[in-house]
Amino acid sequence: MGKLEMIAHTKDGGGLTMRVLFLQPPLGWWAAWKKHIANNVAHAQLAANIREWYPEIEIKVLDTRALGMDEKQMVDAITELNPNLIYMGDALQTTGVAAIHPRYQQAAKVIKQVLPDVKICVGGFFYGANAPAMLEKTPEFDFVVAGETERTVPELAKELSKSDPDIPSVRGLAYRDENGEVKLTEYRPLIENLDDLPLPAYDLFPMDKYVGFNYIRHYVETYMTRGCPNGCRFCVGWTNYDPRGNHDWTHYRPRSPKLMADEMELLVKRFGAKFICMMDEDLNVYRERMEGLIEELKRRNLKVPFFFMGRAPYHLRDRDLLKPLREVGFVCGLFGMEAVDKETLEAIKKGTTVDEVAELVGLFRENNIMSVVTWMVGFPEDDEQRIKDRVERLDLMDPDMAALQILTPLPGIPLYKQLEPYTEEWNLLKWDFQHAVLRTKHLSRQDLGRLAAWANREFYSKPGRVQRILYDKRYHPFCRLIARVYVETAGKEHAQAAVEDKIFV
């Protein structure tokens, strides 16, 4: 084990000062979302954990995207902040899927040129399942977290603050030994109870600078549950977790309704949040939790509009909760269909049926909740006929919005091995769901991109639908603004990504 003396700064009295910097380097956003600058909730959570568990560690935050800084300004700011450890990582796929990696790598490169001694750690989405491999590939990084970051990052920071750090003792970490060889420490078990974690330290972040979907100011993204019991084979949620665990992604853990409401209340009262996007993948697994959340929000009379992602079967099970949910602020919800033909649903192990999705779209509409259905193209069997057929059925179901994703073969998802032979584009900046990076058995990568652009444009230019989602006042104004971004980008930015390979993240 190498001794990492360099990172320990000597305080006046000879004690050690550890400064951890949470860095959001310059990066863009999804083509279909126009300007979207969200808070990094994973950073806020880790910062809170460190503050609570190791108060002696200094925490710094630099969100260059929110502050509109370029690379040089970032390096200057970091030089001034003088951290010993820099962490970059996200928990949410919505930041840009794998396209975040080249951005982090570039940031690490320029930082190391000026501050060669600073340690750089990444983790979370995409890295969690690929820690040793990513460290191997990225000399600019010093550590990559394997699996859940919540305990590992604080422990790493703590360990590094010692004069004789014992890195192998930090579980869930890929590091380099004294010979420069990549090593992986022991598996880190999951946190069983999310309520043991403090609320994210939003106070350290420039909360007034965030913008959602180009138009919504005072916008916040939260992350109140972990995992999804469904374990769809294509789901990128898997990539947050160490494959040595026991299907950690499917181990569903929600925060208690009281703490969820506490967090929302804090966001509204202290930070002036006007719209809360709960970006965790599957919020509505347990009915009691949803009932609890409704109760808590009602009691507090918060009246903040919010969005969450859930699954169609759970919504249908709890159909009587849609009305009370709408009353406490649930204005827009997303549920997945991913593919609408039975065959594909079975192939990807998605326990949802086409009828369920259609029924739920109707129920959402009855309750004035805007519906967003996610769906996918790019499965190996996809040909033009299949994709167009899927579009036809989607059109019949007529959700308010459709979030189209092009299948992206992230290492760490169960379908990965099967998809690898179809992958044709290895520039990770395009691995953001909005570019075609693989071909199918019947379609070239280019054809797939073109069909994706076609399908999206078809959906968002349909007379009647466009007017409904842009102007119908039963939908909350923020929902109509989100719809506006999708309509605006359908023939433009979205197509530029899918057809012309233009980079956005």
């Binding site: 968002y460 230019s461 007379p463 009647g464 466009v466 007017q467 842009l470 102007y471 309509v487 359908a490």
Partner: protein, 242 residues
């Protein structure tokens, strides 16, 4: 040989559809686009669908105490002629068309409005109604009101009505411009012509979706959607004033 003067009149057709006087309001707001019809319909109190034939549907309801008919006014010159004549024969006194057009001046932008003062007859249907030199005109008073309601982004002028979307060639287009046209559509000429023949007041406002001079196409542009939405509001603002 046919011995009757005319096979079908508007009255014949209305009768055949069990139409009764009063089924239409005094004012009609028509459009060729179903989504615009839908948005207009939402403004009416107690709308009754009391005309539907050949795929064209009209509803009559109340708006600020006035009886207003809204519905599908035709997409091309021939069907626009038919619906316009039925409306006139059915007792409508004031016709407002909410349409769309291609601009023929460089500085007219996608999402702007063209308020038609009159039409240049590039269509085929009006020659069955009027002689060659006839110039279809909008009601000047309604047109002026409409213009001031839309003032921002509004352009007043003549609209050339064509029957051949895919033959908007340099020769035809420049010919129309030389006659004073600032925009092209496929409806306005018969719409004004027939209203004039029946002594009714008519006006037309058209959202610009493309520009023939710059070549810009904005069919699914958000500016067009937004302008279309405001168009409905302006149509009903006008109803208040007539």
């Amino acid at each position: 040989m046919m011995n009757r003067d005319i096979h079908l009149t508007a009255q014949d057709l209305l009768r055949a559809m069990q139409f009764k006087p009063g089924d239409f309001g005094e004012i009609a707001i028509v459009s060729g686009q179903p989504q615009r019809v839908q948005m207009a319909l939402e403004k009416l109190k107690n709308p009754l669908r009391n005309f539907s034939a050949m795929g064209y549907t009209l509803w009559t309801g109340e708006y600020k105490g006035k009886r207003v008919t809204v519905g599908h006014g035709g997409m091309y010159a021939p069907d626009a002629a038919l619906i316009t004549e039925l409306l006139c024969a059915g007792g409508v006194e004031c016709l407002i068309r909410l349409g769309s057009c291609g601009a023929m001046k460089k500085d007219i932008e996608i999402g702007d409005y063209v308020i038609a003062e009159g039409a240049i007859r590039g269509d085929g249907v009006t020659r069955y109604y009027v002689k060659d030199g006839f110039q279809p005109k909008a009601d000047p008073e309604l047109t002026q009101k409409l213009f001031s309601l839309c003032k921002k982004h509004a352009h007043k002028g003549l609209v050339w009505t064509t029957d051949a979307l895919l033959r908007e060639t340099k020769d035809f287009v420049n010919g129309a411009i030389a006659q004073g046209a600032i925009a092209v559509d496929m409806v306005t000429s018969p719409f004004f012509t027939i209203a004039q023949l029946y002594n009714k007041r008519a006006c037309a406002v058209l959202v610009v979706s493309d520009n023939l001079i710059t070549g810009e196409i904005g069919f699914a542009d958000i500016r067009v959607f937004d302008a279309e939405r405001r168009l409905i509001e302006r149509g009903f603002d006008l109803v208040r004033e007539v």
